[in-house]
Symmetry: D2
Subunit: 290 residues, 4 copies
């Protein structure tokens, strides 16, 4: 996070904001950055014609600590009534993973976390099956499995999720091919911090068995969609999508195998952007500051 500097160590901050759009915002923000002796290393902005809101993400190298930087920013965020977030670039996001039997997404997340390619810290994987225990163990991550086959078990599992979120100060919950529908209550409790991977190119093939649907419809590309979870199934804001070409000769089982690559890379990409504070919400749509 910090590198040596002739005036002392440099901090690297990421500051995101949204507010009602009006002139002067960029000038005010950059003024606060100058005041705290910062240098902008990355900057993106967007004005939403749909909602009239302004969105910005800046990365700033500065000798200023959090307190000093926040002091400089305070008049600005107050004047424009901003929704904002200040964080250290690269700080690992505390992330809870939910899984079932398929291991490809979990494997991709854990391999990249260990390889230092994904700024997350996964303190726990929860599953409704025990099958992934060995894989998760190998990466040294605690693993808990409990069956979800009736309403009571589902309630217990969801309570365990909420408890784990509290206990580990979880900032992001990832459904890594977790094959249970979350209750509306849990969806609401995790609003804006729960990402699911759906194994189709939404809005095509919502619901169960999307590859079977894709085969029946004879599509020429299959895909995967990472999206925020809402109580409206498979309708949450889309974060990332990818597709891959297929042809008539592929069986449903082959589509499933082919689609796995798109699922894991799409989910991992969405998690990475979220962890880097590149994902902002603009109504039912996402802004991705790549």
């Amino acid at each position: 996070m910090t590198t040596p500097h002739r005036d002392g160590p440099l901090n690297h901050w990421v500051f995101t904001l949204s507010c009602v759009d009006s002139p002067g915002i960029v000038h005010a923000v950059s003024g606060a950055i100058v005041e705290s002796r910062g240098n902008i290393t990355e900057s993106q902005q967007f004005q939403s014609a749909d909602t009239g809101r302004f969105f910005m993400r800046v990365q700033v190298e500065s000798p200023a600590g959090r307190e000093e930087f926040e002091s400089a920013l305070r008049p600005v965020v107050e004047r424009w009534d901003m929704t904002w977030h200040l964080d250290a670039v690269g700080r690992p996001l505390r992330t809870l993973v939910l899984a079932s039997t398929a291991g490809h997404c979990v494997n991709d997340l854990l391999f990249r976390q260990r390889a230092g390619q994904l700024p997350v810290e996964i303190p726990l994987v929860l599953s409704n099956h025990g099958g992934l225990r060995d894989l998760v163990d190998f990466y040294g991550v605690p693993f808990e499995a409990s069956a979800v086959t009736n309403a009571d078990e589902k309630a217990a599992f969801e309570q365990r999720v909420l408890d784990a979120v509290d206990e580990h100060d979880i900032e992001l919950v990832v459904l890594a091919r977790y094959m249970q529908i979350l209750s509306p209550e849990l969806c609401d409790a995790l609003a804006g911090r729960c990402i699911n991977i759906h194994h189709s190119f939404l809005p095509g093939f919502k619901g169960a068995n999307p590859y079977r649907q894709a085969h029946a419809r004879g599509v020429k590309l299959i895909g995967a969609t990472a999206h925020f979870v809402t109580s409206d199934l498979d309708e949450g804001p889309i974060i990332e999508q990818n597709v891959v070409r297929v042809d008539h000769s592929r069986s449903v089982a082959e589509l499933v195998a082919i689609g796995q690559d798109e699922e894991s890379r799409t989910l991992t990409q969405a998690v990475k952007w979220f962890a880097e504070r590149r994902v902002l919400l603009d109504g039912a749509r996402t802004i991705i500051f790549r």
Copy 2:
């Protein structure tokens, strides 16, 4: 179609077939080819697990003329009760184009026809607007426009389509961004020989204004779909699909502009495959022998 050969000119045939699958078909077909002194230059086959049918496309160079080749094939096609088609490779397909105001698809088809890149012969373009007359004129293709603003005009326009199909011995009707819904009767009359380009990645965003729908839903890829026209709107068998990446910053108007490239190349590709006898129907799905 024919090239000099020490035994006389060689014909280049394309033979397509479908029938109930059973052993021995390839051996029988290749036997008929050997019998007519042919050499297979391209061959593809597919067994549909869904319908139990067998599909095959072969290209054959042979000194045999149509009559001789058909004689050799006759026992085979009769024994397996095949649906089949025999054609000369490269023969231009008689193609009727329907258009409205957008010129990009029509331009792409006409430019490639003239450049010799698309084996079609377009004797006529029909439109419900006059705006594309200059463009079509430039390519030396007859153009007729008549408004379609009420039921009577629609009936008259559709009758003109049917008359033109008869008059010009049309083998394929292409809806090159023709912005009217065909009547069920016309759909039925043109079944299996009418291709439409829909400006979304079906089955997402059926119906009107797909780019507006795509913008509202916040998808990260937009696409185009070329499909056979059926009376079930935007539900006909899919021939080809392409997508292109977009982001949150694109307005609906920009999506429209970006999507045009995918529309024209997707439609042109579908027309090319159809003209080359590479598109076969297997229930509600297409087989594409690329």
Copy 3:
């Protein structure tokens, strides 16, 4: 360019700059924009670790006219010794096109210019062959052809290029599959304002017959590269590249046909970005503010 506004008509400006990187630039630029009552509608920036330079592109809606806006910017551009450019968003760039026999790139440029999808104004097409005359005529653009088969004809042709650049106040020269190598003198005279399309994925397959080279090497993707022309053949800064998948069955002639789509869309994209002032030079590399 201007839209009604309660305080009078709004101008839409695009301002690009580069300078040695140091803190405070964004704040100073945004200050000048606030001073001239502007609102930033698009903004991108980049700090080059390779050259130590800072690059920025902003679009600004403002009631200020050019003189007023320039006055506000002047102290800023002087203080940082900026290389800069101020233009009206959407102003068509005066563009000279050079062509030979292949029409696909020329057709794509002219079709899009006419359709309003490409902010260029093409006053003239020069060619070393007469074959594209009809096509260019159709679009109402003057066309001149003169053979280039020896040193004298080449010198005369290049002089005609330079004269046309002067005469029409040309801002960009596009080599739309112009199949002659420009002299070093002409390359220098057009430095930074001449774009070529090379029919390979550079740096693979420089020089002549790239599709033949690609076939011999057995690559699985073929591509196209739009780049600035320099006297070092096919080594100029790359603006855009695209590839398309091919397989072993494709002949050289088929690669040529398949590659044409990538060539025209890659060149058109590069021209569009250049015309929108999105292409900046950072040593031997380009910055593309998409």
Copy 4:
């Protein structure tokens, strides 16, 4: 490999051949298949205009065992002097993996082997570093590491490779980001059965540090190439290539991270095709029967 059948268990065979092209080959092969009561489930063929050779791959379901099927094929393969191979569909290929410090390719191969997505059996991983021991251990695969820092160590390592090939009856050697150049002798010994992943889109950026070269050249797409190893460095026949879009803002380190995904999926794809007998050699080019 075998499924119940009313006439007894069915075997599933894959038969590949190449020979000088002449008429009648398909008929003769399909005749042998009919004779051994087989049903063709997949068939591809290719005639090389470059070398005049014919290539074919068929999958056949048949109650015939290897001996019976070979008997039926023998007259055919002898008559046309075919190079041929007969194998059971899905039989895992005995594969030796060589690695260094980067784990992404090894992880992808081992994860997919365990998940049943890759028809290989990896009895051993050899490395010139010890860093991947834990990962390989987790998958239950023996791992041996020995340094290669001088000529003697290199000779010893290469002898160990040859011994392991013998000992384990190895059919394929995979260089999964093994960062040593093989000696010409080892290249020759493994000719046609050794696949390397090179971290660029060949023929661009051969040799060392391809991402550094790509950054310096400012390419807009980076890629990976899986190819057969020959003594001519990075010049062996290409099996598969993929690219991914990058922009000016990416540092060399970021290109390295981005490119890893393409490397692992490209290598895994090449290994899968090879193990499924879909890769044939036609001079310096590969035929891929996808």
